[in-house]
Amino acid sequence: MSIQLSKNTFFVDRTVFGNTFPELKGDRLRIYLLMCRVVGTNPNGSFFMSLDSTAKEVNISMKLTRNAIEWLCRNFFIKKVGSRCQVNVYKVMVVPDYHLPTDTYYSNEQIQRDRVTMKSTQNGYCEFPIEVMQGSILRNQTKWTDRRVKLLGQLYLYHWIDIYGGVDPEAAHFKNNTMHISELLTYTLGCHTNDIKHIVKWLQREGYLTRVKTVYRENQNSCHKELQFIGDAIKTNQQPGDFLIDVIRLTCIPDLKLNDAQNRTGGKLAV
């Protein structure tokens, strides 16, 4: 399986892929992700796309598109910041705080939506290559159910190719003919482990991820004696005591991340 390297990335608040916002679904989720992608590559950080082209991009009617945008505005996910040539301009905000018992959203407009501010305020995000959020994933809700979109999002959340060679094995990894799936993943996706395993297999068939044998070694110099990813099995000399872990590797990754991984391991990734 070949790896597709991407030069352009954008970020999405991590809570979008969990169960923090039960109503952020269907059309709303697709349009929100589209907006994140567009503002991520737009130098002035705004979404400037006509209703018509927005509707075409996510493959839903103008009416439903308008409804979804209205919902996102009303609940402080995005904000209308003006209009140009009869086209509304929106910005994406840090996701609101949602109080489930009273079904109320509280705006986080006061928190600047940039990587540094978000990190320092515990608003972690995941970084996506723009190529991932194009085509059928936004356009085909029968093929790409919300759960599939959210699981792919969470796999990106745990995907640190430099530190783990792929997805953090504690979150998910292959184990002989089956998989290990963390409790946190099943809770935040609101489904059974088996559902997640099926989707991972489906994503594998669709070419979004691949399975890689990697070598992990205990760090003798650390008081934690943690296991560290040191390279892909086919490019690494193994020692007694090493662990072989079958990690999940996503196939479309930012080129900078792969550089980091090769630097950290001394070029021991076979891609």
């Binding site: 991590r14 809570t15 969990g18 923090t20 705080d97 949602y98 109080h99 489930l100 018992p101 009273t102 109320t104 509280y106 305020t121 515990q122 608003n123 972690g124 959340l157 745990y158 640190w160 530190i163 953090d168 504690e170 979150a171 963390s182 409790e183 946190l184 809770y187 935040t188 070694r217 760090n219 003798q220 110099n221 650390s222 008081c223 934690h224 943690e226 560290q228 040191i230 950290r264 391991t265």
Partner: protein, 258 residues
Amino acid sequence: MKQANPLHPPELKIKENQAGMIMQLIHEPKTLERPSTNDKLIQYHSMMYFQQLIMKKARAALRAKSLSIFKNDIAVEIEIVSVQSPNSLKLELVLKSIFDALNKSVITDDHLISNAQVWLYSGQKRYPKTKIHVRVEDLATRDYFHFSCEIPAIEKREAVTYNIASTMHRHASSAAEIKLIEQAFSNLQTGSTKQHEICHMLFLTSDPKKDVDNMLLMYIDVLRRQGYLSRADNIGIGMYKRHVDKSDERVHINLVSK
């Protein structure tokens, strides 16, 4: 009052009665310091995500009551309802990751937390999902908010180094302090073999900046190793700090059975 020599074990008094055990360590309460490294650090992502999810819940609960971020002394109460057995969970570490989620998002600083409790209740097999309830109270204004979520209890884990085979050491003075406390216990020949399930610690300190959870971490594993606190069945921990003059600094430990 005579001052304790920092190189000698602190004076320790133990009283046992029907209800449990009372201990007194006569010294300045210590805090556990993180291991150190010169390398870049990496955090555990599951833990960071857990903290973010808790932070979102906490902020929503605070704002739903139109309260602003807490600035006075604070009490935090955590209840974990789970089918998980107590021996697979260190309650103080779950508390610590929840404290980190609250810190700066709903309370200005976690050293303001002066009372905290964490309890583990066994859930029903019929409904096996773990639930966490958190209640936060401003002790000066008596304002409070609370929230619940269905989420696995995730323990705080210390960051590890980024680079392969890079070095990380335990904090030397913390390690030395632990040894001294351990010594204070081994010097004492108590006949008790009874293990307790619930532990409360009161820290009388002159330094308001000391975090109550970091002080607790200094002592709790010693109590487990010495056999006073059950490892397999620890279902409740309370921690409290009070401001005193330097000469009155103490640690009071109260062990109770369920």
